[in-house]
Structure formats: structure tokens, C-alpha cells
């Protein structure tokens, strides 16, 4: 007799787990769009898009609360263990990161409106555009890795975060140079700085999400570890998933 | 489904009527069976009681008789031997001759036959106990003959009695009117052994014999039965041999009891030379018969002890013997005792095997020990039921009442014992 280990005895349990995962993915989709819209808003200076991003921030917050509630319900009702427990914990943490990403996106949108008032926003355009595209890719990469239990994909995201951090550092240097050259630009530069900072934070959160993927799949907590450590953990033998 | 118009609820309602009727019917059968059983019991008890209660009273002739020392040839210093040889019978005959003045030898003989042969024993015993009665006129209640007893208790005034003629009935009527003839409680029935004379026959010999026989049975079967039950249930390995033993014990319980009698005759009497007709051999035979009952009920009682108790004791490091004697046996004992008492009650009523080992003999003396010849109650009943005298019929029923009384007492004891001991857990 071959048993199907993918199914719980309790069908409702399956459905509940499925639901938090889907809701998280839905929230992820929304947050990803928020971020790409915010980036779009900076690049195009379109305040309507920025406005839209700020308005939808509420939606993201509500989703976080709802999904968190669902996770609590599962913990209370099912006392999940092992992979189920990790799934619930990971979803709960990922949702938190997604909400923060949402916050950062709305921050970007707010600053965009201030920058666009100033009209001359060509400072660091290149860096912002490039980093923005990168973090949007990271978010979707992290969510994909989560959906597919793909450790490799998750490690890629962590690697990309390293790149974003480097770009952030060089953009920062660029900004400092501007400010030293022309103290009048300091006000605008600070705005740009905030935006860059927000994008960099989004990258960090995307990295957090991919760390949860590793936790979900491998059971090891790689938060606050270096990239090399994470790569090692990802290589380590995964819990046996096929029985002999 | 073509007829889906009917809802489930309606279908259930519809079937309820049939189900209720079935239930009602079944209850009626049950009540009828119980009533039938009760009726049988009532008829049985009614019959026995109506026939048997009169056995507990005895007709006596109250008269004052002078113990004429000269006629008896005794004086105050006469020894027991002399008293036993003295002619009390003649004295009684003389007394009645003086009283009624019979006409001729035939009438005299008819007169004498109204008094029991036991009357002279009565007087003799009185004198044996107290020599000072000699020469005195004393009030005695002389035992009447069984025919007189029957006439006075049953036939007087409304039935013909074939054993007595007109003259005799005339005298008796006269005595009855004078108040000489009366009934009193029949002590002799309980203190005498068996006798050819119904008015003198008693059940003491049979009761003592029964008691001794059951004592032997109990002393042998209880320890053996309990030991066998414990061994089979707790210690014996479960294999072909124990299975075989088990089956045979169960078979033994179903063997007709007369077979045990034959076995007893062949083995105990013919091979081992145990004296026949004794409580000892009776007890041995009844032991064979009750053992299976005790073993089976004992095993059931042991099985009923929850295994968790055994495990608990074993888990604490008790040895198997300790488990049995500290835990299993105390808990199983009420059940074992109940089984034993029921087995003993069975043995109490058993006749067939005892017939085979000679306990059917006519034994007058009350047995004093297990090696004295004796009889038992059910055999006594069997013997009396065979006797032609009318008075024995009522004594048969009387003895049955006593036997039933013992059975009821034993069964009640079993129930009470179980209740009392079971309350502890």
C-alpha cells in the first residue's frame, strides 16, 4: 500500500495551509506591484502613480493582519509540527517582511512626490532605476522560490541582495559627492537618499523572505548569517524527502 | 427512486409501528415465560407444603398413668439394665384396658394398636432419667399410632379410614371429645433416626449424615478445586496438554451423576476398600462430582480479575506466586466461594451416586463420625417415598421441606457472601 504523504488526514488542515500560502502569494503579488509602481513613479515623476501606491498601502496592511490571523488559527487548532509548523512560521514572517516592503514602497511614493515637486530629479536616476528593477526581481524571485520550495532560487536572491547593497553604497558615495560639490542640492539629495535607502531596505526584506524559504525547506534558521554560510546550509543534506 | 415523495422521517415513522409491535410481542413472551416458571414453582411448593406441613405435628394421647413399681418389678435403686428390661408395654396395655374396658381379646388387641410401640420407650426413658417417678402417677402424652395420627389429622369427621374399625373410631371420638387426643409439635421428627414405625421415624440421622458427607466434600473439593483453578489459570503453560485437561474438566461437569456413583463403587469401595454406606465414601464421590463445578467457577472468577491488577503487581516486582496470593486470590475468592456453595448445594440434593455406594441402607442410628454407616436427606426422602404407610407420605414431604430449606439457606449464603466480599472492590 502506497500512501500519499502530501495529504493530511484532515482535509480541512490541508485547505487551511493551502489558504495561508495562497493569501501570502496574493499579498506578495500586490506588494511586488506596489514596489514596481513606486519605482515607475520616481522614474517617470508621475505623481498619480505615487498617489495610487500610497492609497493601496492600506490594503497591504489589512492583508498582513488577515494572514497573521489565519496563521494563529492554524497554530491554535492544529498544533502543526515539522514542515507544517515551518510553513506557518515562515508565512507569518514572510508576511511581516512583505508588509515592511509595502511600507517602504509607500515611503518611496511619498518622497517621489516631494522630489517631483522639485522638478530636477535626475540625481542618481540610473542607480535608482537599476536598483529598483533589481529589487522587484528579487521580490518575485523570493516568492517564486517560496512557492517552489526552491533553495537555489532563494540563495540567488540573497546573492542579488549583496549586489544591491554594493550599488547602494556606490550611489551613496555619488550623492555625498554631489552634496559636497553643491550644498544647495542637499535637500533634494536627502530625499533621493531616503528613496535609495528604501529600495535597499526592500532588498533586505526580499533577502529575509528567501531566508524563510531555506528555513521552510531545510529547517535551518539562516537569519543573520553571511552569504557563504547560507550557501553552505543550502548545500547541506536536505531532510530526506523520499522514503526508500 | 420512484417513490421519493416519502421523506426519511415518514419512513421511520411508518417502521416505528412495526418495531413497537415487535417489542411489545417480545416483552409478552418474556412475561409469559416468567409467569409460567413462577406458576410451576408455586404449584410445586404448594403441593409439598400442603402435604408436608402436617409431618411437623404428631397426635398424642394425654393421660395420667401410674408407674406401678411392683408391676414393673423395679425399685428406686434399679440399674439401667433392669429398667430396660421392665415391662412398660404391659403397663400401658393395662392402663388402657382399665380406661376403656374392651370386650374380649379381639377388642383388646384393637385397643392396644392405637398406641405406638414407641410409647413404652417414652415411659422407659422417663424412668431412666428419674427413678423417683416410680410409684407416682404422672401426666404423659403417649405417642399415638400412625393410623390414629392420620385419622385425627386428616380423616376425622369427613373421610373413611380403612385402617381403623368402628370400635376403634368410637374410642378415639370419645377421647377426642374428652380432650385426651390432641396434636403437638413433632419433635421426634427432628431428633429420631429412621424407623419402621412412621410415627417414630425422624430425619436426624439423615441430616447428620448429610452434614458429615458435605463436610468431607467441602474439605476435599474446595482446596483441590481452588488449587487446580489457580494452577490452570495462572501457571500452566497454554499447550495441547492443558487444553486437553481443560476440555475434560468441562466434560466432567456434564457427566451424569450416577456415573460418579459407579466410579466410587469401583474405585473407592472395591479397590481402596473404603467402608460402604459411610459419609466418607459419599463425600469422596460427591467431591468428584463437585470438583468440575468448583474448578470452572474458580477459573471464571480468576479470569474476572482485571489483568491490569496483575500487571501492576508484576511491574512492581512481585513474583507470580505473590501476584496470585496477594492480589488475584483475594479478588477471586468471592466468586470461588459462590461457585463452591452452589456446587455443595448440588451435592446436597444428589441421590443417584449415593445409591450406588450403599447409602440407601436402612440406618436407625445417628452417625457420629464419617466412618459410621449413614444415609443422607435426599436418599431418606427416596426411601420413605417408597414406603406403603400413609404416614410416610407426609414425612416424605416434610423431609423435602427441610431439604429445600437447607438449599435456600445455602444459596442465600452464597449470594450474601458474594455481596459482602465484593463490596471491597
Amino acid at each position: 500500500m502506497e500512501m500519499n504523504f502530501n495529504q493530511h488526514i484532515s482535509g480541512q488542515f490541508n485547505a487551511d495551509l493551502e489558504a495561508i500560502r495562497n493569501h501570502m502569494m496574493g499579498m506578495g503579488g500586490l506588494v511586488e506591484r506596489q514596489v514596481s509602481n513606486a519605482i515607475e513613479a520616481i522614474c517617470s515623476g508621475d505623481s498619480r502613480i505615487a498617489d495610487d501606491v500610497i492609497r493601496r498601502e492600506d490594503e497591504v496592511d489589512k492583508m498582513e493582519v488577515n494572514i497573521d490571523h489565519e496563521c494563529t488559527q492554524i497554530l491554535v487548532r492544529r498544533q502543526p509540527a515539522a514542515s507544517d509548523l515551518r510553513m506557518v512560521l515562515a508565512v507569518s514572517r514572510v508576511v511581516r517582511d512583505l508588509e515592511r516592503i509595502g511600507d517602504e514602497a509607500s515611503k518611496i511614493a511619498i518622497h517621489t512626490m516631494e522630489v517631483s515637486d522639485n522638478s530636477s530629479n535626475q540625481l542618481c536616476q540610473q542607480a535608482m532605476r537599476y536598483m529598483g528593477a533589481e529589487v522587484v526581481k528579487m521580490i518575485s524571485g523570493a516568492l517564486d522560490a517560496f512557492a517552489r520550495h526552491d533553495v537555489e532560487g532563494a540563495v540567488d536572491v540573497v546573492r542579488n541582495d549583496k549586489l544591491v547593497d554594493q550599488q547602494y553604497a556606490s550611489a551613496l558615495r555619488e550623492l555625498i559627492t554631489y552634496m559636497m560639490e553643491d550644498p544647495r542640492s542637499i535637500g533634494q539629495a536627502i530625499n533621493i537618499l531616503w528613496i535609495l535607502r528604501a529600495i535597499e531596505r526592500i532588498g533586505d526584506h526580499a533577502r529575509n523572505i528567501s531566508e524563510q524559504v531555506i528555513y521552510l525547506v531545510k529547517g535551518t534558521d539562516v537569519r543573520h548569517s553571511s552569504l557563504t554560510e547560507i550557501e553552505e546550509q543550502a548545500q547541506a543534506a536536505a531532510p530526506e524527502k523520499d522514503n526508500g | 427512486m420512484t417513490k421519493s415523495s416519502m421523506t426519511t422521517r415518514e419512513k421511520v415513522e411508518k417502521s416505528m409501528k412495526r418495531r413497537r409491535a415487535a417489542e411489545q410481542r417480545f416483552r409478552m413472551y418474556g412475561v409469559a415465560s416468567v409467569l409460567f416458571g413462577l406458576l410451576c414453582l408455586v404449584v410445586l411448593f404448594g403441593d409439598i407444603l400442603s402435604k408436608g406441613t402436617s409431618a411437623f405435628s404428631q397426635t398424642v394421647i394425654e393421660t395420667s398413668i401410674t408407674l406401678d413399681a411392683d408391676y414393673l418389678g423395679l425399685d428406686k435403686n434399679a440399674d439401667d439394665q433392669q429398667v430396660r428390661l421392665a415391662n412398660f408395654e404391659g403397663l400401658i396395655k393395662q392402663h388402657f384396658k382399665d380406661m376403656v374396658q374392651p370386650d374380649g381379646r379381639k377388642e383388646r388387641r384393637q385397643l392396644y394398636s392405637l398406641v405406638s410401640a414407641g410409647a413404652s420407650w417414652q415411659l422407659q426413658n422417663m424412668v431412666l432419667n428419674d427413678r423417683s417417678l416410680l410409684g407416682q402417677t404422672i401426666e404423659v402424652a403417649l405417642i399415638a399410632d400412625d393410623d390414629v395420627d392420620q385419622w385425627f389429622k386428616h380423616d376425622r369427621g369427613h373421610a373413611h379410614n380403612a385402617m381403623l374399625n368402628e370400635t376403634q373410631i368410637g374410642w378415639l371420638e370419645q377421647w377426642a371429645e374428652q380432650g385426651i387426643l390432641k396434636t403437638r409439635f413433632n419433635t421426634l421428627f427432628f431428633v429420631n433416626g429412621d424407623s419402621r414405625e412412621p410415627e417414630l421415624a425422624g430425619i436426624r440421622g439423615a441430616i447428620t449424615g448429610t452434614f458429615l458427607t458435605l463436610l468431607v466434600t467441602f474439605l476435599l473439593s474446595f482446596p483441590i478445586g481452588v488449587a487446580a483453578a489457580i494452577y490452570l489459570e495462572e501457571f500452566a503453560p497454554k499447550n495441547k496438554i492443558t487444553e486437553f485437561v481443560e476440555i475434560n474438566i468441562n466434560n466432567l461437569a456434564a457427566v451424569p451423576s450416577i456415573t460418579f456413583g459407579l466410579l466410587g463403587l469401583a474405585i473407592f469401595i472395591n479397590i481402596f476398600g473404603v467402608a460402604r454406606s459411610t459419609p466418607l465414601v459419599g463425600g469422596l464421590v460427591l467431591t468428584l462430582m463437585t470438583l468440575p463445578t468448583i474448578i470452572i467457577s474458580g477459573r471464571a472468577a480468576i479470569k474476572a480479575v482485571p489483568p491490569s491488577i496483575r500487571e501492576a503487581a508484576l511491574g512492581l516486582g512481585a513474583s507470580r506466586v505473590q501476584v496470585v496470593f496477594h492480589h488475584v486470590l483475594p479478588l477471586a475468592l468471592p466468586g470461588m466461594l459462590t461457585g463452591t456453595i452452589i456446587g455443595m448445594a448440588q451435592a446436597l440434593g444428589e441421590t443417584a451416586p449415593l445409591l450406588m455406594i450403599g447409602m440407601v441402607a436402612f440406618v436407625v442410628d445417628v452417625p457420629a463420625f464419617i466412618s459410621d454407616p449413614s444415609t443422607v436427606l435426599p436418599v431418606q426422602i427416596f426411601l420413605w417415598s417408597d414406603s406403603p404407610e400413609r404416614a410416610f407420605t407426609e414425612r416424605t414431604s416434610g423431609a423435602i421441606i427441610v431439604l429445600l430449606g437447607f438449599l435456600v439457606i445455602m444459596n442465600t449464603a452464597a449470594v450474601m457472601l458474594r455481596r459482602r466480599l465484593e463490596r471491597r472492590w
Binding site: F5, G219 | L316, L331
Partner: protein, 267 residues
Amino acid sequence: MSIIENHTTNGQPFCKDPKLTARGVGVFYGEKQAIFDVSLDIGANEVIALIGPSGCGKSTFLRCLNRMNDTIDICRVTGAIELDGEDIYDPKVDVVPLRARVGMVFQKPNPFPKSIYDNIAYGPRIHGLAQSRVELDEIVEKSLQRAGLWNEVKDRLHAPGTGLSGGQQQRLCIARTIAVDPEVILMDEPCSALDPIATAKIEELIDELRENYTIAIVTHSMQQAARVSQRTAYFHLGQLIEVNPTDQVFTTPEHALTEAYITGRFG
């Protein structure tokens, strides 16, 4: 599903300071094999939980540890089980002192139909642990105190033990086991007949007992295993699939079967 061929237990079945060691233990009921090649250490002063679906052999294995299986005629045990390095299945070993060293608490509370006092005193009496009445009184009091029952029953020591509530009865049984001062206590689903509050009390008690005793507990409640034990062993169809520290088993089990069982995918 069937027996896994050439299975070796995942995780850490052995430990540094073992009290009981089982090596290659197999159990047969007549022709039928109930346990296959189980090797497991039970460390001193640890609580090890044996979990697994019904009929997986965890209770059978537990009962091997104090030779309770001896009472079943057709039961045969192979392999070696050592208590402090002594083979308990050595023909020279007497089960009576062994069971005094390795006590057992059963699924259903099973106090003797005697007084509370006599329940506790029974073990010390048969093993001659007390020289005097005073000493026996002390043992009874100490055992009841350790089992957390003393305050509840001290005024009615001579009332029947069967008159206590289910949870109290089970603690009485634990006290009775402690009274003979065992080194190892085996518990066979000790809380399965109890309500949650009584269960919590027993679990608390197990935690306290760990200081002085080595405890192996069979349980159907995975939460209970997670709460009371330091190591957890997962049995499946008579095989020991995985042994690991409890927190690891319940977050990241190594073997897929363990995972499937503890997440409620079968069992």
C-alpha cells in the same frame, strides 16, 4: 507500506551516558515479528518519548525493557538489552529485582483495591525495603510527596485507592512505582485515560522526576512527547525510524515517515 529493507535508524540513537542500551532487539509473537532490529540508548536522567502510529511496536519495545513481555507465553525477544552494562535477558538474571529497578506505569490507572497506604507500601513490603513500621510510613509519605499527591490524600491514607479521581489514581500508581526506588521508570501512555488538567499534572511530575530517574514514555500525544521529553524516538511498523532531540524531531525531522506522522499525514 511495508518494512523498510536495510533500514538504519536516522538521527542519534546512541548517547554518551546510557542507562539502558538496546542493541539489535527483535520481538516475535509466535511466528510474527513485531519489532525489527531496534538499537537505542536511553540516557541517564533523560526523558525519552517513544512515538509512532498504533501497532508500531513502541509499547512492545517498552515492555521489553523490564521484561514484562515474559508474561506472554508466545513472546520471544532477541538481541541484547543492558541495564548499566548488565544483560537483562541473561538467564541468570531474576526478573523480580529487575522490575524493582525498572518500574512501570500503565496506560490505565490500576491501583490495587486496597487502601492508598497499602498501595504504596506494597512494593517496599515485598522487597523488604523497610525495617520498621516507622520506616515504611516514611517511604509512603516521601513517595506520595514526590508524586505530588501527599497534600491531597494525607488525611485519608486508609481510604481505598480506587476511590480517587483518575488523575489522582495515576499519580498514586506513579508514587507506588517510586516507592521501590527504581532507577528507570517506564510509562506506557500514562495520560491517555486522563483529562487535560490531570495530564498537565502528570507531565509536570515527569519533569520533576527527571532529576532522579531515567524515564521512557510511550505516548500517542505528540504534543505531550514534545512537552516532556528531551529525545524522541519514532517507531514505524516495528522499526525504529528516527531518534533525535525532541525539538529537532518536531521542527525538522530527518526521515520522511517521521515527518508524515508528526504532521498528521497518517497514523
